[in-house]
Symmetry: C2
Subunit: 478 residues, 2 copies
């Protein structure tokens, strides 16, 4: 009796294995580098050929996604060394699986012929995913090699912006007509020999490819073969249009637990298919991009990219932060006279600014989430502002009170401690107001409120906090 | 010829419709409240009954996930009003779809009998999802009502920690034996009448439920019915164990584009099934929880929860931040003498601290991402630290130089501007070192590096930045 194999079991072990072979390889290369062994001997050496053979064996047994994972985890030189060992007929599938940044490094390492050979193994929708990274001449040559239908599909797929259903859909469609029996449809499927991945249903269409209904494979299996398809198909379905927002489509996939769904034009004519694997990749990529952009990083930064590339990737954000820090610094500058008289103000002011920033970011996060979940409408914005102001007032009195007490204990000046309490309360309320307003305004102007809200909030609560605290101190202490 | 219906088309329109009916309802209620209309008249009033009827009609036509979406988008009182209008036989499915925070508000509104009726419509795995939120006596009663097999399943599902495959798996398993023909298997499926959702393959097992292979529905359809199942089944499969990490399982689902996969014990005996819809929900929930916890919010906060609940949800984070702000403040306190002599230091020091914090958070984000993608191993940690220190040095010289220039322009003191440049460079390097070390150390001790890293980094770069800047100033300027 055969025992089933778990094909994922050992990915991290495999990575360790690859890394250790590469280390042996580097050891030998170092000898060449130190000129203790001639280059010629290395290439010919038994160790070298044995390593190569071993690596090739490992790579050939792996799923393309696993090869991609290993390539992602290696520094550039070892990544390219391994990439050369991958069988040419798997290049295309692997290029689809790696991240954008790593893909660019791999493509830069291939010549036109290799790229064309790799791309020719792909479906039209996969080619569309790869196209933006390919050199112009390679893409042109590929276009020319396609038949009219596929060329048109490629061009239309490329014409849809990145965050639309059109850019995610594929063309692996199996259709039947509604007036045949299940028996006939089954015979038709049997002739296809294989069904496209993620075919959980086939699309029932009219003569002119207008979608009439959906027929789950499972209902073909459980219903009597003599039944007509129109009597068992579902007419109530989730349909998408190529120009639909991909994020909305992803939510619909989650909400209705879809595996595949037809993409239709405005006459309900079938133009493509959206599948759960593309949707899941999209969700993951969006979550990653959000996380990176919250820290002002673009998604293109490869983990192993050079120092100089990283500097370029990060400078814009630092420049923005520098501007806001300068602004806050000038606000303090206005009150240098006061600080000169009461030096304690200098030590206390960062507390007021800092706690305002944290509280504002909490509010913004709640609002961004509410926007993403569709919980925010014109009618409840007022409620949200009141609620957040309430939270800020309570937190301000509690934490402002605590800090007022600590201030009195440190400096023995009750007026200073009252100023501290008042400044913290007011800055938390400013943070609450801005924390609600900023993401809502950004959203209104069609910007992603998750990106940049945090900088704006912090800029407000820093400058605002310094101004409120030093202003109150100047009025009441001097 | 029938035209297919897009069942998702109008969710946001439906929400608007519900909100506008609820507004009419509120208008009438306000009249009662102002005692311009007796309560009795309201309940009996035509408007009221008409509204209720209209809402019930809308709700009955909606998918449970859409009802859940609408409930999420409403403030507590209107949410509960609507919840009462939902047909009792749909309560269970809807409770499964809402978020934890909203589910608690709905369950709090139901009595034991309603809860038991709702729970009895659910599968065992769904019941397990709901169980933690149910009152103890209701859960006990439900347990008693189950047969032995399902009780055992429920207990085992409840025994797995939240982030394991065991907590996500279901028990909707269709199995066949390997020595029958496809024909026989097809006849068996036909007798089932319906297949469980997300059945893209059936599991081939031995007499003792040990998994032998997997049989995709599509290969049942395209192969000749006379073939034996063992000759067409796949023996190379992705298997999971109930105690596997859910995050790893989610990655495997993405990597291998799975729709369903068997969950087995250590003898490869089938114990459950993992499906892509559960995995996708898990990914989305994790991404949301990460985003919230980065701002120090627990996931339980309902968007419409009370001020007091929100205060409780946020206080711990503010307390931590307050401690770190106090620490930074005491560092400044050490140098009050220097600030008293050169007041400009007070205005400049937040810049040094702020830019360090931003840069450190960029580094941490890269490292957290590298950890999540498995790109970080012992061998390349050294490389990462060197790279980040390099990036910090270049950024420090560039931005420190710019700020040195601005400082000179503002204060006309070249020594102050040199101290500024040096302090920024050193603080960026401190930020880089900490930005790499903190997430790695947190990861080493089994903590989620995405949570809390940011506070720690900011604490280091604030206190460190103040210390470096004021320290250098004290040495070189006084």
């Amino acid at each position: 009796m055969s025992d089933i194999q778990d094909s994922k079991e050992s990915l991290s072990e495999t990575l360790d294995q690859v890394v250790s072979i590469l280390e042996k390889h580097r050891l030998v290369e170092n000898l060449v580098h130190k000129q203790e062994m001639p280059k010629h001997d290395l290439v010919e050496s038994l160790v070298h050929r044995q390593n190569q053979f071993e690596l090739q064996n490992i790579l050939n047994d792996l799923h393309p996604a696993d090869v991609a994972h290993i390539l992602e985890a290696l520094p550039l030189d070892e990544r390219l060394y391994l990439w050369d060992l991958v069988k040419a007929d798997r290049d295309g599938d692997i290029l689809l699986e790696v991240s954008d940044a790593v893909r660019q490094t791999l493509i830069a390492d291939m010549d036109s012929d290799e790229l064309i050979a790799a791309a020719e193994q792909l479906d039209t929708d996969e080619l569309a995913d790869l196209a933006p990274d390919l050199p112009k001449d390679v893409l042109q040559e590929l276009m020319d090699s396609l038949d009219a239908l596929n060329r048109e599909r490629l061009q239309s797929a490329l014409s849809y912006p990145e965050d639309t259903v059109g850019s995610l859909m594929d063309f692996d469609i199996v259709t039947v007509r509604e007036n045949v029996t299940i028996e006939v449809a089954l015979r038709y499927l049997r002739r296809l020999e294989t069904l496209p991945d993620h075919t959980d249903k086939i699309f029932v269409v009219s003569r002119h490819d207008v979608v009439q209904g959906l027929l789950p494979l499972s209902s073909m299996l459980v219903n009597e073969p003599e039944l007509k398809i129109e009597s068992v198909m579902a007419e109530d379905a989730v349909l998408f249009h190529p120009e639909d927002d991909a994020e909305e489509a992803a939510k619909a996939f989650e909400r209705y637990d879809l595996i595949s769904a037809p993409v239709v034009d405005h006459n309900n004519k079938l133009v493509g298919r959206l599948t759960v694997d593309e949707v899941m990749d999209y969700i993951r990529e969006e979550a990653e991009a959000d996380m990176l952009s919250m820290a002002g990083l673009r998604e293109e930064e490869d983990f192993f990219s050079t120092v100089w590339k990283s500097v370029q990737n990060r400078w814009a954000w630092l420049a923005v932060n520098l501007m806001t820090a300068l602004l806050a610094s000038r606000v303090i500058g206005l009150f240098e006279g006061s600080i000169g008289k009461v030096v304690a103000l200098a030590a206390l002011m960062p507390i007021v600014a800092g706690i305002g920033g944290n509280s504002g970011n909490q509010t913004t996060t709640m609002i961004v989430r509410g926007l993403a979940l569709g919980q925010i409408s014109g009618s409840n914005m007022q409620t949200q502002i009141s609620k957040e102001l309430g939270v800020a007032l309570i937190n301000g009195l509690i934490w402002g009170g605590v800090l007022g007490f600590i201030t009195y204990w440190l400096y023995g000046d009750y007026r200073l401690s009252l100023v501290m309490t008042a400044a913290i309360t007011l800055n938390l309320m400013l943070a609450a107001l801005m924390g609600v307003m900023i993401p809502l305004v950004m959203n209104k102007f069609g910007r992603d409120p998750a990106v940049g809200s945090s900088v704006l909030i912090t800029a407000m609560t820093d400058s605002g906090g310094f101004f409120i605290f030093l202003g109150l101190a100047t009025i009441f202490l001097l």
